[in-house]
């Protein structure tokens, strides 16, 4: 009977196992990374239909400096999970605008089908509060054929 390994005895002391002791360290590192980078939402989303736009861009502003104004299809305005009368929007936004050092960005999350007069009223309120940086929240539209010159 032939010798196992054709007579060559295995003498290497190197283990043939993948070292798994550091696996936990790697996993914990990833875990801590995700825990640190996770930002919990402070307010829940309203059920709206998002308008689509191809020119949609990311807001490059700190999260603390972004304020959401939800505008539902029937013209209801929600801020911080509360229904706000239209004429109170300015008084809600103004303190936040001053506090942010005039950097506050208003993310206006209006339903795609809300009549424009409501959107106009919100804009008037925002002008009155002083907050001039507004982002009309949209979803990125992916066009199949882009008409380019």
């Amino acid at each position: 009977m032939a010798l196992k390994g054709a007579g060559f005895e295995r003498k290497s002391k190197a283990s043939d196992k993948i070292p798994s002791s550091s696996l936990a360290d790697i996993a914990f590192l990833l875990l801590i990374f995700f825990m640190v980078t996770t930002v919990f939402r402070s307010e829940s989303e309203r059920p709206i239909e998002w308008p689509e736009a191809a020119a949609t861009q990311q807001i490059d502003e700190k999260r603390d400096n972004i304020m959401y104004v939800w505008l539902e299809r029937n013209g209801d305005v929600y801020m911080n999970d509360r229904l706000i009368p239209m004429e109170d929007v300015a008084t809600m936004v103004a303190p936040a605008w001053e506090q942010s050092g005039r950097r506050l960005v208003i993310s206006l999350r209006a339903d795609a089908l809300v009549p424009y007069r409501h959107v106009d009223l919100v804009q008037e309120q925002l002008k009155r509060s002083g907050a001039v940086y507004v982002v009309f929240a949209t979803d990125l539209e992916r066009r199949m054929t882009r008409e380019r010159r």
Partner: protein, 140 residues
């Protein structure tokens, strides 16, 4: 003491082989529950209150958005109205701004027009690189 030799086969080390499993479980939990914020949209800067600027009619491209989603376009003082789709605004703006670099887009939206039609026009203008855009309510 000498007789009490350790004979137990139970290891005195805390088993660390399952540590990775626990860590990965937590990791996957956080990955699944994380919701990334959807902070994106079309940027505009509103004019400050009582900030009214006189603009020559020659430099305004009137873009009227109607409830049917179509756009009525008039150039400056001219009374010719052309009806186009919001997407065509992009093309029109490029041509018009080539002829007059001081052009301002005066977007007026009908009170009953859906918000998304205004967004489509704004989208087209921003794609065409327009920066001077005025958003107003269309008064009949």
């Amino acid at each position: 003491m000498a007789i009490l030799n350790k004979k137990s086969k139970i290891s005195d080390e805390i088993p660390s082989s399952s540590m990775a499993d626990i860590a990965f479980l937590l990791l996957i939990f956080f990955l699944v529950t994380t919701v990334f914020p959807r902070d994106r949209g079309l940027r505009v800067v509103l004019p400050e209150e009582a900030e009214e600027v006189e603009v020559s009619q020659r430099n305004i491209l009137h873009i009227h958005v109607w409830p049917d989603g179509l756009v009525r376009l008039t150039r400056g003082e001219s009374t010719d109205v052309s009806v186009i789709t919001p997407r065509q605004v992009e093309q029109v703006w490029r041509t018009e701004v080539g002829a007059n670099p001081n052009l301002i887009a005066g977007v007026k939206t009908h009170p009953e027009a859906a918000h998304r039609y205004m967004i489509q026009v704004l989208d087209a203008l921003q794609l065409a690189g327009a920066s001077r855009i005025s958003l107003q309510l269309l008064e009949e």
